[in-house]
């Protein structure tokens, strides 16, 4: 029986799709069978970040509308990872093309076949959000250390709680340790003080992630990427909550890099 995890944020542009791609790639590289579903109907992105756009035949709307025989026909297998599949979103449709009940049914079916079903949620709190959370067992809230992103994340957490999704964990993305040290950016403590949900990990701001997204290569495959390293740590913590937290402080990054390239690096890629 698999687990359905929705990756959501409220605010756009905080790194939901990147997080989804990297967590999915990380889990798959650890030997788990994974499906990533892009639920952002009309604004298809996840396939781009994974470099799979040219292989889309059927999409999410085709699956729920029964235009293909089963969901298996619509799944795109990522050649880099044996166990990673994606279900792309429809680009030329709108959010109301799918109903929450349909998403729930699809998630239930996928749970029998895969270990992890990770849903990339659209920004906002409207229909697309309701669809994405309908079948979810757990949620990962991605936010940035900015007041607007944190405010939206808080709203999202409230809606997730209202939808009775009890396991809600936080990824703090685009952290700039230098700015925090100067008191110009919210620290993880400031963010957690407001959100008071379990922290899954912090991801430092990393220029390399721009390049890896554009190339369609998840950053988690990039041994030199600090963000990739943070995602490896996050994946390790999804699999085992006892894995210690890494805080992105410039001084200890070098040390952590050694720890992680020795520990996880061999298994990734």
């Amino acid at each position: 029986m698999g687990k359905v995890i929705v990756v959501t944020s409220g605010k756009g542009g905080v790194g939901k799709t990147t997080a989804t791609a990297n967590i999915g790639a990380g889990l798959a590289s650890q030997g788990h069978s994974v499906v990533l579903i892009d639920t952002d109907i009309g604004l298809r992105n996840l396939d781009l970040v994974l470099g799979l756009e040219n292989r889309i035949v059927f999409d999410l709307v085709d699956v729920v509308e029964g235009k293909c025989r089963s969901f298996r026909q619509a799944l795109i297998k990522d050649k880099r990872f044996e166990n990673l599949h994606i279900l792309a979103s429809a680009q030329s449709r709108e959010k109301d093309a799918v109903k929450p009940a349909q998403m729930k049914k699809l998630c239930t079916e996928l749970k029998d076949a895969f270990d992890y079903i990770i849903l990339d949620c659209p920004a906002g709190i409207e229909m697309g959000f309701k669809n994405a959370i309908a079948g979810a067992d757990e949620a990962i809230v991605v936010t940035n250390p900015e007041v607007s992103a944190v405010r939206d994340a808080d709203r999202i957490v409230g809606l997730l709680e209202a939808a009775e999704i009890d396991t809600i964990r936080l990824i703090l993305n685009r952290v700039k340790p230098g700015l925090i040290q100067r008191g110009q950016m919210l620290s993880v403590e400031d963010v957690q003080d407001i959100l008071s949900i379990e922290l899954l990990g912090q991801v430092p701001e990393d220029e390399r992630i721009v390049h890896s997204s554009n190339k369609g290569e998840p950053a988690i495959l990039d041994g030199k990427s600090r963000a990739g390293m943070a995602y490896r740590n996050i994946v390790a913590r999804i699999l085992d909550p006892a894995v210690p937290m890494v805080s992105p402080q410039a001084s200890i990054w070098a040390k952590l890099r050694r720890v992680f390239t020795a520990d996880l690096g061999a298994q990734v890629g």
Binding site: V147, V150, D154, R155, V157, G158, I194, S196
Partner: protein, 311 residues
């Protein structure tokens, strides 16, 4: 003192600034009118040409009802000085007719009611009504000392500031010509509504951005009130957690409402129609500058925050 009349639907109170009539919010309207109609008859001499300020409290007064009051007063040679009401409609009706109206309620009838109950429980009060009017039942009238105590006086002072014609109900005011008198005349049948019986909503959760609790009573929150979340209560608000959102106590205009919290860095804090803004975005970065249990209340026109003394 020519006579002491007793009313079950209203409380008459003489003050330095004139006469105040608090109309019980739960009394039948015909009953109110009937008792209003015999004011001058009950107080011959004292009430000649008097101008009365009415405290309607939460009661919604229709245009017809307001006109009935004015007609009744005029037919007795009395006049209306202005009204206190928490209802916008009621205040509008009064203002349209050229009477001054301010937001708020003193709740004297309720205070009197509570005091009456306490007196009864302790000792039988000294009989004071020498010649009760025929419809007064055996229940003795409240002693003259029975006036609102400290909690009421703060608010009355602030009301006085904003509308000097509204009488200040202070201890010495009892010595003015009109004997304050009241009695729940249907004791045993009619159960008056007391302050401490206002409904209270108890919440044990974190209120997050976008969540709003509106309640016609007091609200107790055991958890955080996050930025972007709001509580709106007709009565008091107690937040046992981080208060970072918006709170509005006395949303229906009760100026005596207070906000009590252990940590204060709100976006906005409102009592009745007055408000206090937190510092911009400070809630995210700074710890509360004030510590301990804090109470926000109205002092005149402004919301003041003070530490509650440890006991």
């Amino acid at each position: 003192m020519a006579s002491v009349a007793t009313y079950s639907s209203l409380v008459l109170k003489g003050t330095r600034h004139g006469l105040l009539a608090s109309i019980r919010e739960d009394a039948d309207w015909p009953h109110v009118l009937a008792e209003l109609a015999r004011l001058s008859q009950d107080h011959p001499g004292f009430l000649t040409d008097a101008s009365i300020t009415f405290d309607f409290g939460w009661r919604e007064i229709t245009e017809e009802q307001f006109d009935q009051v004015i007609t009744s007063l005029h037919s007795q040679g009395l006049s209306c000085n202005g009204i206190l009401s928490t209802s916008l409609n009621t205040r509008t009706i009064a203002e349209e007719r050229g009477y001054r109206a301010i937001i708020g309620r003193l709740g004297l009838a309720k205070h009197q009611g509570r005091r009456m109950r306490q007196e009864k429980e302790e000792v039988a009060p000294a009989p004071q009504a020498s010649t009760p009017t025929p419809d007064v039942i055996e229940q003795p009238a409240a002693p003259a000392e029975v006036v609102p105590q400290a909690p009421a006086s703060q608010i009355e002072e602030s009301v006085e500031d904003s509308f000097d014609a509204i009488p200040a109900a202070q201890e010495e005011s009892v010595e003015t010509s009109i004997e304050p008198s009241t009695s729940p005349s249907q004791e045993g049948v009619h159960v008056p509504r007391f302050d401490d019986e206002e409904p209270t909503l108890y919440l044990r959760k974190t209120l997050r951005s976008g969540q709003k609790v509106v309640f016609a009573g007091n609200v107790v929150l055991l958890g955080d009130l996050n930025p972007g979340a709001a509580i709106e209560a007709d009565g008091d608000i107690i937040v046992m957690g981080q208060l970072r959102g918006t709170v509005h106590a006395g949303a229906e205009g009760d100026l005596t409402s207070t906000i009590i919290t252990s940590s204060l860095r709100p976006t906005q804090l409102r009592i009745a129609d007055r408000f206090w803004q937190g510092e911009r975005n400070q809630s995210f970065f700074k710890k509360s500058p004030l510590s301990g249990t804090l109470k926000a209340r109205l002092d005149g026109d402004s919301v003041v925050v003070e530490a509650l003394p440890a006991r």
